[in-house]
């Protein structure tokens, strides 16, 4: 049983300290965490962005990432979508007893790598261990703070008629990669999750033009849901063109098989940007020069009529409404 996480690892006693010091403090090596005080204390001035998210993905390891990488990228990206440079993260694990220590270590390593890539530090955290069946292997919560530069004002409510809509790359990769590994469904695919921290992309977009109106990472609910949120918040309509939206052939095929629409499938390393028409070329150029935006495209534009609605021109030249995701994506029968 030595290699498994036990209830005692979350008890606050010796085993818990051992786990924190040997695994976490060492991996996330930074002075704020190493103090092991009740709070991380740091100086700050300027505009602060603050966000949190919980991760319950199953399976916890998937092609292209794991729950640890996802937890860092998710929170880093939420900050980045406000135009904030991510600075510090908190990290909480809720572990189901019996989780192999080796799996936890692997996840800790991937948290550390992702944090390094994103340029953030894990400065505070917590570990709880729950009875078998009370969690599904491992749940992770992260919160993060970031700093917003002067002159940057990004919000879902800022889209204006005439603005252009940009998408940073292919959609649906994460959702389909995770689904391909799910128990009872496993199908073979070369596809990997697109899970990636997007701050470097956003930073380069902002240096091309600080006038970005909206940013959103289309995670659960997919591109369709993000566009609907933006249209509603800004009280505008968004018109997109089906042909312009990049989707990998593997994702299309899996979606056909399962009865999904790629517009509703989750992404973890993509963003949608709504930018003024006059700045679109330089922002697009900056995106394409970044690893995470090399396939960036203009997918549509913002209009005044039918506020709150997203309309898509289909490949046949017809128009249809693109609604939000209702409930869960459920595979179809035939």
């Amino acid at each position: 049983m030595k290699d498994k996480i036990l209830l005692a690892h979350g008890s606050g006693g010796k085993l818990a300290h051992e786990l924190v010091e040997r695994s976490f403090v060492k991996a996330f090596d930074n002075p704020l965490l190493a103090k092991l005080d009740d709070s991380a204390v740091f100086d700050f001035s300027g505009r602060l962005a603050f966000t949190t998210d919980s991760y319950v993905v199953s399976p916890i390891f998937f092609p292209g990432g794991d729950i640890g990488k996802l937890a860092v990228c998710g929170t880093v990206n939420d900050l980045a979508m406000s135009g904030a440079k991510p600075l510090y993260l908190s990290l909480s694990f809720i572990i189901e007893e019996g989780l192999p220590q080796s799996e936890l270590s692997e996840i800790v390593v991937s948290v550390q790598k992702a944090a390094q890539e994103a340029g953030v530090e894990i400065v505070t955290g917590d570990t709880k261990v729950v009875h078998r069946g009370s969690a599904d292997k491992l749940f992770v919560n992260t919160a993060g703070v970031g700093m917003i530069s002067e002159g940057v004002d990004i919000s879902g409510g800022n889209a204006r008629p005439g603005d252009k809509v940009l998408l940073s790359g292919t959609i649906g990769d994460h959702g389909i990669a995770v689904l391909s590994q799910r128990e009872g469904l496993s199908f073979s695919t070369q596809l990997e999750s697109d899970c990636a921290p997007l701050w470097s992309l956003v930073a380069e977009m902002l240096s091309a033009s600080p006038n970005i109106h909206c940013l959103r990472d289309p995670t659960r609910g997919g591109l369709a849901t993000s566009l609907n949120e933006l249209a509603k918040q800004s009280k505008v309509s968004i018109r997109i063109e089906e042909e312009k939206i990049p989707v990998r052939e593997e994702v299309l095929a899996a979606c056909e098989m399962l009865g999904f629409d790629p517009l509703y499938v989750a992404n973890e390393g993509k963003l949608v940007a709504i930018v003024p028409d006059e700045d679109v070329d330089k922002i697009l150029k900056a995106m394409r020069e970044n690893r995470d935006g090399k396939d960036a495209v203009i997918i549509g534009e913002v209009r005044a009529e039918h506020p709150g609605r997203v309309v898509m021109k289909t490949c046949l030249g017809a128009s249809r409404i693109v609604d939000m995701l209702a409930g869960d994506l459920l595979p179809r029968i035939c």
Partner: protein, 362 residues
């Protein structure tokens, strides 16, 4: 060859659309039988690009939608029996029965598993020998062969805790029932693609022969549907009625003989209750006598209680092609995908859901 993007190419679509516009002279009404086709038609806005001479109406080809409330109630009642695991395709979870849905009873603690294939249900049975696993056998000729295969495999492996609630439906008999009712006048039929992959195109011949209605089997991509419509228009304009296949990459005239044999070995036709259409002779499948020990209906004492139909819901009329979702007072108000009243709003292949999600006629 790419099997998806090749069938969505705008320049080919444009060619087909102008050809249809050129050729279509006679006002006609075509029915797409299959819910998968309904989704394609709405998702790509096909009705908008067809000439005004062509009226499209959706048929009853959504297996979830045509499942009668009494059968849904049976599935829910099974989930309430202790030590029973109900295994089902995901689409079924949200459908409201008379009082509840599988999704709701699952949240209350019933052991309901969503599976992606019949064989997963069989595996759950193997992994849980102390429990009984009931698989909800919903679907048309498309799913029945795989369920037959699972029963044969359970027999071979000696798995004794696996059962099937057979609610399967057969497509040709219900089409005959709809045509015989005379409620809806059709000039062409878009025959289901996946169903025809199994049964072939021969079983549709009675429609062309006895009712004089042109039939074309279609695939599910926008170019498939456009090609199918074009072929139907050509038959109408030439005064012909034949069965043709516009989905050669998936369908052979004789169908999939191996799948048909499996189905016939395990199941036999029986009368079945269709939502909105009623009882249709020989349109269902029940387990043959030698496989009856797998029949959930015989193995368990199911008490579904009285059946209620949702007040004001016109799913039945929509399934017969007599009305459209736009005719329903509940549509988009009391009945939405988040709060569905009728099954056609729940299933991803339901007409109401397609109208709602893709803004029918927008």
């Amino acid at each position: 060859m790419k099997f998806i993007s090749e069938f969505r190419r705008p320049e080919l679509a444009e060619g087909l659309i102008s050809q249809i516009h050129r050729e279509s002279k006679t006002p006609v009404r075509f029915m797409e039988f299959c819910g998968g086709h309904t989704v394609t038609i709405f998702r790509y806005g096909i009705r908008q690009v067809l000439p005004p001479t062509i009226d499209m109406v959706s048929g009853p080809g959504c297996p979830i939608c045509v499942t009668a409330n009494v059968d849904l109630d049976k599935a829910i009642a099974l989930s309430q029996i202790s030590d029973v695991i109900v295994a089902t395709f995901g689409d079924m979870l949200k459908v409201p029965g008379s009082r509840s849905s599988l999704q709701e009873v699952k949240a209350d603690g019933a052991d309901v598993h969503m599976v992606y294939s019949t064989m997963d249900a069989l595996r759950i049975a193997e992994d849980n020998p102390a429990k009984s696993v009931v698989f909800l056998g919903i679907g048309f000729e498309t799913t029945a062969p795989t369920i037959a295969a699972s029963i044969l495999q359970a027999g071979e492996k000696g798995i004794r805790n696996y059962y099937v609630l057979s609610l399967h439906k057969l497509c040709p008999p219900v089409l005959r029932a709809i045509l015989d009712s005379g409620e809806v006048k059709l000039h062409g039929l878009i025959c289901p693609g996946h169903v025809s992959t199994i049964i072939g195109s021969h079983p549709w011949e009675f429609i062309a022969r006895d009712y004089g209605i042109p039939c074309v089997v279609s695939g599910f991509e926008p170019l498939d549907i456009l090609q199918c419509v074009d072929m139907l228009v050509a038959q109408v304009e030439n005064n012909e009625s034949r069965v043709e296949i516009a989905y050669r990459r998936g369908v052979r005239p004789e169908g999939n003989q191996q799948a048909l044999k499996l189905m016939e070995r395990v199941f036999e036709p029986c009368s079945a209750e269709w939502r909105g259409i009623g009882e249709v002779p020989d349109s269902g499948l029940r387990l043959r006598k030698e496989y009856q020990h797998f029949d959930a209906e015989l193995a368990f004492d199911i008490e579904p209680g009285p059946t209620y139909e949702p007040v004001g819901c016109i799913c039945g009329d929509i399934l017969r092609g007599v009305k459209t979702p736009a005719d329903c007072q509940l549509f988009g108000k009391a009945c939405t995908p988040e709060h569905p009243v009728g099954p056609c709003m729940v299933s991803s292949e339901g007409s109401c859901s397609a109208y709602y999600l893709y803004g029918g006629g927008f």
